[in-house]
Symmetry: C2
Subunit: 209 residues, 2 copies
DNA sequence: ACCCTCTTGATACAATCGTTCTAAACAACA
DNA sequence: TGTTGTTTAGAACGATTGTATCAAGAGGGT
């Protein structure tokens, strides 16, 4: 069933308010924003919208309106730095982890899917181009100390003091690190020297200026 | 300067609270969540955190805490459907636009960058694989009726009643639509038959189960 | 000890805000 | 006309919550 005009207006207002100010409007904010005469009218429409699943609220909690059937969730994900070759990099769980992230991204819950210890890295270089990850893309990582063969992972090379993003394959007593780029060669590490830090669970790219 | 232990705890609590419930905690929520004895202590720490730029608040506004120096912004972007070939698709600004989106994504402000009329589409097929856009990826679109040569755009083909995602090049009195896939051929349309609906401004991919 | 800044504590005020209640206007319909 | 369901109004209650105030402890440096 379609939403009535007034209710559509209220939904739009909530969305705009949320985008602009970062928190939800109160009933009385909506009164002002939608030219409605009194709060009970808004209350009435909100009740209907909630029953129909367009919004969710927590009773008695101010500014608790959230949009959209289940889809609402934004997750805060810390952008921890750049991954290429060279720099070390603190990861969640390590001692250095409480360090301040470069910034905090807001990511759709549909990507994070309830996982804990998710962080983001900016990719430098085109070593993963065949996996459709370009220079400048942001990869979302889940903290993990082991991954399945062939998964993309951030690997810490102890003796080189390097962090690198590769596909990981376990072999006899070594590990094969394979770039997803036909122009680059795989290389091998002693099992003890390569430490998996996390697996790639998503990619975000920004196009244009 | 680093954040003290207690303040780090408060920051973590706010982040978790925000992720779990979708709105910010009150001073008294933080009292409970961080085992602090009284609201004035929280108030004190919040004042410091705000002065240092870790959070922002609006005076007198309940639950108005937002995280992160400027980075906070989450934008609501409607996921309007799937793009491949075949289905028509309402776009922002058209009459059908107020129609209910499949869902509402929450996307980092850093991708939307203040643009208006941004929407999202799920990509079907691998016709844009060489542009690093895979089957199942989500593309973020900005509503636009013209694009520069070579930009990726969603194009509406009137007579075929089809929507398609291609690179667009204007030629003499026709338009070349070029897939980003070496195994597919470009094709041409009369200028009047091809209507640009939007340009691609970002890509979001989800990896794993 | 003394001073200084940072931090904790308890309490209270007043504004904000969700909710409820009652009544009426309005529309569709038999 | 009467009936029913939806929407609009106005006002008020009381819980929630940001903030202010005043007091005191904790630690460091001189």
């Amino acid at each position: 069933m379609a939403v009535s005009h007034k209710r559509q207006c209220i939904l739009d207002f909530i969305r705009d308010f949320l985008d602009e100010r970062g928190y939800a409007p109160t009933v009385r904010d909506i009164v002002r924003g939608c030219d409605i005469s009194t709060s009970s009218v808004v209350q009435y429409h909100l009740d209907v919208l909630e029953k129909e699943g367009y919004i969710r609220r927590d009773p008695q909690v101010f500014r608790s309106i959230r949009l959209g059937a289940g889809t609402s969730g934004a997750c805060s994900v810390p952008l921890m730095g750049t991954i290429a070759a060279g720099e070390p990099l603190p990861v969640p769980g390590s001692d250095a982890w409480q360090s301040v992230p470069e910034s905090v991204l807001s990511v759709a819950e549909s990507i994070v899917r309830g996982r804990k210890d998710v962080y983001a890295l900016k990719v430098k270089g085109t070593s993963m181009i065949d996996a459709l990850i370009d220079d400048g893309d942001i990869v979302l990582m889940e903290q993990a100390s082991t991954v399945a063969d062939g998964e993309m992972a951030a690997v810490w090379l102890k003796s080189q003091q390097e962090m690198t993003l590769k596909r990981v394959y376990r072999e006899a007593n070594r590990i094969r690190l394979q770039p997803a780029n036909r122009q680059m060669k795989s290389f091998y590490e002693r099992t003890g020297n390569a430490e998996v830090q996390g697996r790639v669970i998503g990619v975000i790219r920004n196009i244009g200026s």
